[in-house]
Symmetry: C2
Subunit: 98 residues, 2 copies
């Protein structure tokens, strides 16, 4: 049962653009490190609508177990600690079956 994991973030108003871009780069690099990731797309909001959040990632896995391996993977945890936590205001997530 394939799963799509989606995380949406609001970032701090004073977060530096470079720090946001670094977060995107570091998260995107996880697909080269965590084999369970089948597909990975993320990005900063493109400004097409009012009142949006600031960032979203969508990642696909072959199973719930593969998603959980990703969620607890040391490389993923390290990116959260080093590149997301310093600039995040709020986080919301959903995983659903594809």
């Amino acid at each position: 049962m394939a799963v799509r994991h989606v995380v949406m973030l609001k970032l701090k108003q004073d977060a530096a653009e470079e720090d946001k871009l670094r977060m995107v780069r570091e998260l995107s690099s996880l697909k080269d490190v965590i084999p369970e990731i089948k597909s990975f797309h993320c990005g900063l909001d493109a400004g097409l609508a009012e009142g949006n959040h600031d960032f979203v990632l969508t990642a696909d896995f072959a199973s719930p177990e593969d998603y959980k391996a990703y969620a607890t993977h040391p490389a993923h945890v390290a990116v959260i600690q080093e590149f997301i936590k310093p600039i995040v205001l709020s986080r919301s997530a959903v995983q659903f079956t594809l």
Copy 2:
């Protein structure tokens, strides 16, 4: 420039399961009605993690203009009015370039 549109919803605690499933069906049917939709996936949270939101949709478009055609399309607006508004608590969205 391809765009992924992501909407995440918290639903009312007392929303009936049938109404949630109907919302998923109605939204999913939009891909047969709105030609600008290139890819469309949505679903209720699978319960794999604590503190998640209740629903998310991801929809891909070939351009920002195609996304805006979808956003304003009568069929999309009707689904929002009839099947989402009655059961939604909060909505957050991001569009990013793929």
